[in-house]
Structure formats: C-alpha cells, structure tokens
C-alpha cells in the first residue's frame, strides 16, 4: 500500500514538473484580479497600474491547448480563412507547409499580423487585442506542426478535405478483452 502510494506521488510529481500549463485556461489577460466592474460602475474610469510588456508572456501560448483552440476560433472569426482557407492557402499563402516567408517564430508571426505584409496581408495592429494575436500565432504554428502534438486536436468540425493529410496509421480499436 505504502509503496503504491509512493509511486503515485512520484508520478504526480514528475508530471507536475513537466508542467500542465498546457491545460491552463487563461480567460483574461492579465488575470482578473482587478475590480474593474466596481470602479467602472461609478462611471469614472480609472486606469490601473500598467502591466508588464506582453512579449514576455508569449511562450506560454505556444504550448497551451486553450490558446491554440482560441486561435483556431479567431482564425475563422477574423476571417483569416477568407484568404488562407483552413491552412491550405488560396489568396494568401498556405500556412500548413514548412515555407515561412517572414519567419516561423511566434514573434515573426505576431509581427506579420500586427504590421501586415505587402501583397494583401492587412495590418491588424490596434484592431485586435495583443493576447489574441499570440493565440492566432500559436494556432498558425500548430498548422505546420510547430506546437506540441498533444495540444492540438486531430480534426475540427468542418469538412475534412482541406485539413492536413495525416500521416498516422489507423490504430486498431482498443482491445475489448480476450478469453481469459
């Protein structure tokens, strides 16, 4: 019993060290510590203390499943799919391949979204909140497999013919038992 408990604790510890910020849901940037509501209801808006520059936070987005899925949602909400489709490219360049015109680092993609690029990529700086730009960058990187695989779903709920051809083989369905 004790041995087992020890093993379990060790496993937990190991898993905790490797970190599960992958599963964190950050609904708000910065975290909702403020009492903005109360202050706002008095109708004079007091700006709070300025928060640290957001660039430092971006690495957290790249491995976070929630950030990637939010990025996926925003990709369609902000009509990125209008030019890039679901990553396959069209009017805009494809995003699923390994070819990066302006670099594949999150910062590069962030800059591309904020500043825009020649030949049609509009600048979204000042239009969408910074944290959403990082979420979009994380999703775009996930399209070409630059984010951890287990933070990304296998498919989405739209038609599949535009999704990346998966190279994985079919797993045999799990064993349901064999004669004892």
């Amino acid at each position: 019993m004790k041995i087992l408990r020890g093993v379990w604790i060790a496993m937990l510890g190991a898993a905790a060290l490797t970190g599960c910020e992958r599963e964190e849901r950050n609904f708000v940037e910065p975290p909702p510590t403020s009492s903005a509501v109360e202050s706002l209801r008095l109708s004079d808006l007091r700006p709070g203390p300025s928060s640290p520059p957001p660039a430092a936070e971006n690495s957290a987005y790249q491995e976070n499943a929630y950030a990637i899925s939010e990025g996926q949602r925003l990709f369609s909400w902000y009509n990125c799919a209008g030019c890039h489709f679901h990553g396959g490219g069209g009017i805009g360049p494809p995003l699923m391949d390994d070819l990066w015109i302006y670099g594949s680092e999150p910062q590069n993609i962030h800059a591309t979204i904020i500043q825009g690029r020649p030949n049609g990529m509009p600048a979204f700086g000042g239009r969408i909140p910074d944290y959403q730009v990082w979420q979009l960058a994380a999703y775009v990187r996930s399209l070409s497999g630059l984010t951890p695989k287990d933070a990304v779903p296998a498919r989405s709920d739209h038609m599949s013919n535009e999704s990346p051809p998966t190279t994985m083989e079919k797993p045999s369905p799990k064993m349901t038992g064999s004669p004892p």
């Binding site: 599963e23 964190e24 499943a65 933070a151 797993p171 045999s172």
Partner: protein, 644 residues
C-alpha cells in the same frame, strides 16, 4: 441479537479435523507481506480492498459535491470559476457512477457471492485480482489528471461536439474516455466471474429456486453489465478516435451525427442506473428477511421482478433524449416502458411490506437504512414517472428537478441500502459489531440531511433552475432554497464522518459477537466471522433457500475435495448436482503485471495512437505469462488428475 440464538452458529466448526484444517490453511492462504498483498487471489481480500477503494472514491466525490454546494449556496458566487466548477461536477458524476457506485456493488458481489453460494473462491480468481488493479489504476489516473488541471470538464455524459476535438480543448475529455475504459474492463471481468460463480459453483442442493435473492440480484446486474457496457465501450472508443486520429463519427459536416453519441451513451447509461439499483434490491431483501425473521414474501415474484427490471432497463434509454429531435412516435414507446418499469419495483416494495407485516421486525440500524428506502426511493421512483412523460420531461429535463430525482433514486435506492449492508455484513467481515448508537446518529443525520439537501431541488427545477450551472443571478430568487440544500449537504457530510468514526473505532474495539450475530439464514453466515481463507470446511450442502434456518443442527456436507490443491466443486446449472472438481489458480504477480501493461497502453493512447500498437506487445507478453502453466504445479496436478 439479544434473545436466544435459534441455532448454534458454530455448527460448521466441527472438531477433530484440525490436521485437515491446517492443510487447507496452507493451501488457500495468501503469502505473507507485500508480495502476498500484490499477488493475492482471495476473493475476500480483493473484495475488501475493492470496497475500501470504492469508499475512498465516494469520499472524494462527496468532497467535490460539498465544493459544488458551497459554490451554489449563494447567487453570483465567485468561490469557483466556471472552468474549475465544470471539472468538479464532471469529476463528481464520473466518480460516483464509475468509481463508486458500480465498483462497490461489484465489490459486495465479489466478497459475498462465493460465501452465499457456498464455495471456496470466486471463479477466475486471477481475473478478479486483475479487475481490481485495473479499476484502481483507472481511478488513480483520473484523479492524477484532475490534480494536474486536466480533469474532464464536459460532464459525465461527455456530449459531443462539446467533448469533441474542436470544442473539447486539450486532453481533458480523453482522460474521461480512458477512465471509462478502465472501469469497463474491470466491470466486465467481474460480471463474468459472478455469473460463472453463481451458475457453476453453487453448493450442492442449491437449485436455482434456492439461490438467495442477493445472488440473483448480482447475476441480473452482471448480465446488465455484459449487455450495457459495450455501448459505452463503443462510445468512448469512437470519441477517442475522433479526437486522436480524426475519424468523423460525430462530425455532422462529414456525415457524422452528435445524436449517435447520445444513443450509444444512453444505451449504456440508463441500464447503468439499474446496474447500481438491482444489487441494492438484493441487499434490501437480505436485510428485510433477517430482521423480519422470515423469508422474503413471494420469492418467485421477487426473482421475476429483478429479471423484469433488468430486461425493461434496456428499453428506456431514449427518455434521456426527449428534448432532442427523435421522432415522437419513437419517444412514445419509451414513455410506456419508462412508466411500466415502475411495476416490478412496486411489486417488490409490496412484497417487502408484506414480509414486514407477517414477520416480527427487529429494529436495528441495518433495518432503519432499509426502511428509509420506502420513503426516499419511492419518492424518487414517482418523480421518475414524471420524467417518463415526454411533455412534462421537456419542462423538467436538465433542471435541478432531475438532480433531485436522480439523487433520490441513487442515494435512496442504492446508498441507503448499501449503508444498511455495511452495518449488516460488517460483523461478517470483521467479526465485530458496529456501534448501534453511532449507527442511529449516522442514520438520522443522513436521512434528515439528505431530504434537506435534495427535496428543495425539485422546486428549484420547476422554478427554472437548469443543471450544471456554476452560478445563477440573484434576481432569479433561487438563493434561499440553494442555501438550504447546502446545509443539508453539510449534514450528510457529518453523517458520513460519524460512519467513518464508527468503522475505525469498531474495527478494533467493536463488540465481538460470534459467527452469526443476526442469526441470519443464508450460507455466508455458516462459516466463521471473519471467514477462513478457504471459506468453508467442510463444504455445505443445502436443502432450502435459508439453509441455516431450516436445519437446527449440522447440515449435510461434501467430502473428498482435495485439501492440498485449491479445488472447488463445480455443480450443474439448474439442479446444482455435483459435476466435477476444478482447481482454481493460486496467487500470482501476473494479474498485476498485466494490469500495469494495459494501463500503460490506455494512458499512452490518450496521447498517441501508436501506444495501442506498441503497448499491445507487453500486454500480450503479460497475458501469455499469466496463462503459461508452471511445470511443478502441473506435475502435481497431473498426479491427482481424474479424467472425465
């Protein structure tokens, strides 16, 4: 019982066989120390372990419930955010259904059934060990995930598309699906063991008509597991495949259908309720018979009612889907079935009342818990009738009315009888009695707390409060009743604490009461309390449904079973005539190794499909190791072999 013992409970302790007893002791004993702990195949040790583990999960689920009640105690509460609340209610449901209710019913079966039918171990004892390990690993996996913030957050029913790849972000839903897989494997294994034990290992003379009602209930439960669990096997497998390898079972854009999930899930999910409820009915019968001092009225009616409940239980699942677009004509069939399933339960209630009426009730704590059933379960069953009506269900479905209903049914129908059963069989397991005063406190706190917690929820549901909300606006006016419910939940928690204290105290210091303190009539009381490793010596022969009541002195017995190998007597299916002897396997590490290998496969397959391919190699190796005979043991056996 204070009055004169109607029979000598030690009549199965014949003197003068001590050498034989010693040999039996040696043959059937579990090796000492940690090695023995890991390798045992004794159904009593595994059953106890199962019960204790399931009870721990009951406590964990209860703590989660308390957190939910605290969050809902007042409107617009910010104690728990939606993210954590969703994980907690999902964990609560998953824990209570898959890690507590089903396993503890099976655990009671694992402990009691072999004793009740008079055999020395359960059929397939190594499979039994394996099913415990796989259950334990599944539970540990789920709670490890929860502590690491990967707790499932899509409800214990995991409706797609919310649980699908697009909206079920991260690995949370996968951990849910794999927990289900672990529990399925465990439950199915136990079901097969119980059926085989009751069908083939009964004491000589225990024809089907003499099988105790609890054993019948366990058989019906096992059959329901066998036919219901495949639904959720398929559901959780297809869900994982949708999430991991991009299949489209539930993607409407590619021909899949979210309703398919609901059909598969509820095809399992409704029988699940009866899987929990039916063993509790068996416990009711055991307790009522003993404390009314007579056999349960209408044995044949009771058995038929159990079987009928089990069969009709498979014809109800669509009543969980009355608010979907299933055609109305189809729904009507399910209305009829959902109403009519009340009939077998009503008949059982009438038979029990007739038993009490014609018997001579003895008011002890087990009977109190059982009597509460007549209020709580009947109320829950009546609200169940309301849910069976399509139109009325569209008003109360997915509201707190259903929360109230299901707790009345599951706590009233299963947890109250279970607590009665704990008080009733505790002396069997430990040889000591639980304290009666603490038992009364336990009971009344539970009864009052329960009704305080759940009765107001009926009204909340009718007043429009939906389920699974992490909070509600103050303007809705639901605050008062919710606060009341939270207070009731606190009383339940206090009651459970009383119970734990009672068990911990009496485990060592409770009154020693001999082998058959309630002078009950069924075979599990025919041996010492606690029973020896080999359960019975000599193995009894029975001549009626309550063998200990029918024969005032020594029952006839069986002779000629080997005392140097783990031999049990196999009897015929209907008449229980002696058929042949079969040797059951002894302690082994292989079940544990196999469970570890399978657990690695299951956990790995949350992250990559390749885990199924590569993981199957150690699983196969472990299973081969398990079945591979040992040379020395085989030679010994061949020496004693009698071919058919």
């Amino acid at each position: 019982m204070s009055a004169r013992q109607p029979m000598d409970p030690t009549n199965f302790e014949p003197l003068g066989h001590s050498a034989e007893r010693e040999r039996l002791e040696q043959t059937w004993s579990t090796p000492p120390g940690i090695y023995g702990w890991l390798t045992t195949v004794d159904h009593k040790l595994i059953g106890k372990r199962f019960i204790v583990t399931a009870f721990f999960f009951f406590l964990a689920g209860g703590i989660l419930a308390m957190l939910m009640r605290l969050q809902l105690a007042q409107p617009d509460n910010r104690l728990l955010g939606p993210d954590l609340y969703n994980q907690i209610f999902t964990m609560h449901g998953t824990t209570m259904m898959f890690l507590f209710a089903v396993p503890i019913m099976e655990a009671m079966g694992v402990y009691l059934v072999p004793l009740m039918v008079g055999t020395r171990n359960i059929a397939f004892p190594r499979l039994n060990a394996f099913s415990y390990w796989i259950y334990l690993f599944g539970g540990l996996m789920l709670y490890s995930a929860f502590l690491l913030n990967i707790g499932p957050d899509v409800g214990w029913f995991s409706y797609v598309p919310l649980a699908g790849p697009e909206y079920g972000t991260g690995k949370r839903a996968d951990f849910w699906a794999q927990t289900i897989t672990f529990t399925e494997v465990s439950a199915l294994a136990v079901a097969v063991e119980i059926i085989t034990t009751v069908f083939k290992q009964r004491a000589v003379g225990m024809s089907l008509g003499r099988v105790p009602l609890l054993a019948w209930a366990m058989v019906v439960m096992s059959f329901m597991i066998i036919f219901a669990m495949p639904g959720v096997i398929l559901a959780s497998t297809t869900l994982i495949m949708d999430r991991l390898v991009g299949t489209h079972f539930f993607n409407p854009a590619e021909g899949g259908d979210a309703l398919l999930w609901q059909h598969l899930f509820w095809f399992f999910g409704h029988p699940e309720v009866y899987i929990i409820f039916i063993p509790a009915l068996g416990m009711m019968s055991s307790i009522i018979a003993t404390f009314s001092r007579r056999p349960v009225f209408g044995h044949a009616v009771m058995v038929s009612a159990l079987v009928a409940t089990g069969v009709i239980g498979f014809m109800l699942w669509v009543h969980h889907m009355f608010a979907t677009m299933v055609p109305n004509a189809g729904k009507m069939f399910f209305t009829v079935a959902s109403m009519l399933i009340a009939l077998p339960t009503a008949l059982q209630v009438y038979c029990w009342i007739a038993t009490l009426w014609t018997g001579r009730p003895v008011f002890k704590t087990p009977l109190l818990f059982v009597l509460a059933f007549f209020f709580i379960l009947v109320l829950g069953g009546l609200t169940g009738l309301m849910l069976a009506s399509i139109s009325l269900d569209t008003q109360v479905h997915d509201t707190f009315f259903v929360v109230a209903h299901l707790h009345y049914v599951l706590i009233g129908g299963a947890v109250f009888p279970l607590f009665g059963a704990f008080y009733y069989w505790f002396p069997k397991i430990t040889g000591r009695l639980l304290n009666e005063t603490a038992g009364r406190w336990n009971f009344w706190l539970f009864f009052i707390g329960f009704n305080l917690a759940f009765f107001p929820m009926h009204q909340l549901g009718l007043e429009g409060m939906p389920r699974r909300v992490y909070t509600y606006p103050e303007a809705m006016g639901w605050g008062g009743l919710n606060l009341l419910a939270t207070i009731g939940a606190g009383l339940i928690a206090a009651s459970v604490l009383v119970f734990i204290g009672n068990v911990l105290w009496c485990r060592r210091r409770g009154a020693l009461v001999g082998n058959n303190p309630w002078s009950a009539g069924t075979l599990e009381w025919a041996t010492t309390s606690p029973p020896p490793d080999y359960n019975f010596h000599p193995v009894p022969v029975v001549a009626g449904p309550e063998p200990l009541w029918e024969r005032a002195t020594g029952l006839p017995v069986v002779a000629g079973l080997s005392d140097t190998t783990r031999e049990v007597l196999v009897t015929t299916l209907i008449e229980a005539k002696p058929d042949h002897r079969e040797e059951l396997p002894g302690p082994s590490l292989w079940p544990l190794i196999s469970a570890l290998a399978l657990a690695a496969l299951f956990v790995g397959s949350i992250f990559t499909p390749w885990a199924v391919v590569w993981g199957s190699i150690p699983v196969a190796a472990a299973l081969i190791g398990w079945f591979w005979p040992k040379k020395r043991e085989t030679e010994e056996e061949v020496a004693e072999e009698v071919p058919p």
